[in-house]
């Protein structure tokens, strides 16, 4: 993988730091009139998800990270691995539990997810922003309550638990925002 000098730094560039692939979020060139030049960089570590700040001497070079995002459809899990497929080439890739992490609760068959590959192996799985899932269990709500004050917990088919309005019932399919984990609407079947 190529090395990048600080002059090439910009948001979105993938570099290696402490043996972990990272994404540059922000890069600021700082140089006092008479002083040494530095790059102050905000970085997200792609495996741990940690965000940190790092200072580089201007002109320093760092190793690039072979990281790419690919759009793949979720197929199934065999209990150990989660299998995804490229809908154009039919090529399949298996992600382990670590790569899927908490997002396992948003995996819906045939939904297209963003899989981040590092050296060809999946390191993170990002579900679509919105998914549709069936409620498997929730307390029966009060009839006539449409205001949705407070709401109640509902368990979905994947095991995810979200707060829903009182009028939403077991067996219904709802739309959820995976970034916030919040209920959006009911889905007409």
């Amino acid at each position: 993988m190529a090395n990048y000098s600080t002059n090439e730094f910009k948001g979105g560039l993938k570099i290696m730091l402490d043996g972990e692939p990272c994404n540059i979020l922000e890069n600021e060139y700082v140089k006092p009139g008479k002083g040494q030049a530095f790059n102050r960089v905000k970085i997200r570590k792609l495996i741990s998800g940690k965000v940190l700040e790092k200072t580089f001497r201007s002109g320093e070079s760092v190793e690039g990270a072979d990281v790419m995002d690919t759009e793949l459809a979720y197929l199934y899990t065999d209990g150990e691995f989660y299998h995804f497929m490229n809908n154009d080439t039919f090529e399949q890739i298996a992600a382990d539990e670590k790569a899927v992490g908490d997002n396992v609760k948003w995996l819906v068959e045939n939904d297209v997810c963003t899989i981040t590959l590092w050296n060809g192996s999946p390191i993170t799985v990002t579900p679509p922003n919105f998914v549709e899932l069936e409620i498997t269990e929730t307390d029966p709500g009060l009839k006539g309550d449409t205001a949705g004050t407070g709401g109640k917990p509902a368990t979905l088919s994947t095991g995810a638990v979200v707060r829903v309005p009182l009028f939403v019932q077991t067996g219904e399919v709802i739309r959820v925002d995976t970034r916030s984990g919040e209920y959006v609407s009911r889905v007409q079947k």
Binding site: G33, A37, S58
Partner: protein
């Protein structure tokens, strides 16, 4: 290809024209003479962390090619005018620095530089403040010494701090850099200043910081009462380092010594040494009147004036489109 277009708005171009008019009126009223000096020079700055663009001149009277440097500021040539009894002078010119671009940086930029014979840096600070009031309509500026700023914000005396104390403080401030022990004390001070002090000074009104460590004197004289500091000041406002001024060093011997020291530092750092401007040193030998001078970045001043986030918003064609 949309890259041919300017990165500025028409509104910002008008603001620049108005700003330049205000500045010229300010100096006209104060009887400071506008001058021009060459942007190409045979000598250049020796500072370890300042690099000039160089070019070759094939048509010199000696018949041999000569290296010419684009000025990093018009300082040496303007001081030669002062040595030739010009009296108070100012210049609005392009300055060039061979370094990176960023939110506050373009390698080619517009600089306002002026000199006041008979002024100390204290009197000049008052005049810079008056210019900021005239151009940005600011409240009168705050003033704090470099030492006091470090003590107030970081609880650290920059004039006596050891390398160890600076390393500790950098860690406390979250400055994560490889091999911090190889940085000079001045670079550590500058990193701390940029990370911890700059963000909190000069928010509401400009802030003058004066009395820089003698090791960062550049072309300022050393303070006669406290040899640890130089009579140098900088102006910070809304996150920008706006201006840098000196009670000017007049002694030719000391000036030559500082140039040689700079080149020594360059050699030690594995950087090429730079030719010393002998015209400038000869002028100092003829006698530079007691004076103070300051350089102010016009693009940054304009950024603040129009509320621009990036220097590209006020420079028609930044280096990436030059």
């Amino acid at each position: 290809m949309q890259q041919w277009q300017p990165t500025t708005s028409h509104q910002n171009r008008v603001a620049r024209a108005n700003l330049l008019r205000t500045i010229r009126a300010f100096f006209c009223q104060r009887d400071v003479l506008e001058v021009e000096t060459p942007t190409l020079s045979q000598g250049t700055v020796t500072d370890e962390h300042l690099d000039a663009f160089a070019t070759d001149f094939y048509y010199g009277s000696t018949g041999k090619p000569v290296s010419l440097f684009l000025q990093t500021s018009p300082e040496y040539a303007m001081k030669r005018l002062l040595c030739a009894d010009s009296g108070a002078i100012y210049q609005i010119s392009k300055a060039f620095r061979h370094e990176g671009e960023g939110r506050w940086h373009n390698p080619e930029f517009t600089m306002l530089e002026w000199y006041r014979p008979g002024f100390s840096h204290v009197e000049l600070m008052a005049e810079v403040d008056a210019l900021l009031i005239a151009t940005l309509d600011t409240e009168p500026a705050d003033k704090i010494s470099y030492q006091q700023a470090f003590i107030d914000v970081l609880g650290l005396d920059p004039l006596t701090a050891t390398n160890h104390a600076l390393d500790d403080k950098m860690r406390c401030c979250g400055i994560d850099i490889n091999a911090p022990e190889t940085l000079s004390i001045d670079s550590k001070l500058q990193l701390l200043f940029g990370q911890a002090i700059e963000p909190i000074i000069g928010r509401e009104r400009p802030c003058f910081v004066y009395g820089f460590p003698a090791s960062q004197a550049a072309l300022a004289r050393i303070n006669p009462e406290d040899k640890r500091i130089a009579d140098r000041f900088e102006v910070y406002f809304q996150g920008a380092e706006l201006a840098n001024g000196f009670y000017e060093l007049c002694a030719p011997d000391e000036q030559r010594r500082r140039f040689a020291q700079d080149n020594e530092k360059r050699r030690a750092a594995g950087l090429p040494t730079k030719p010393i401007d002998e015209y400038f040193l000869s002028a100092l030998e003829a006698g530079l009147p007691d004076c103070a001078g300051v350089a102010l970045g016009i693009d940054r001043l304009l950024m603040i004036k129009v509320g621009a986030r990036h220097i590209q918003d006020v420079i028609n064609f930044p280096v990436s489109r030059a």
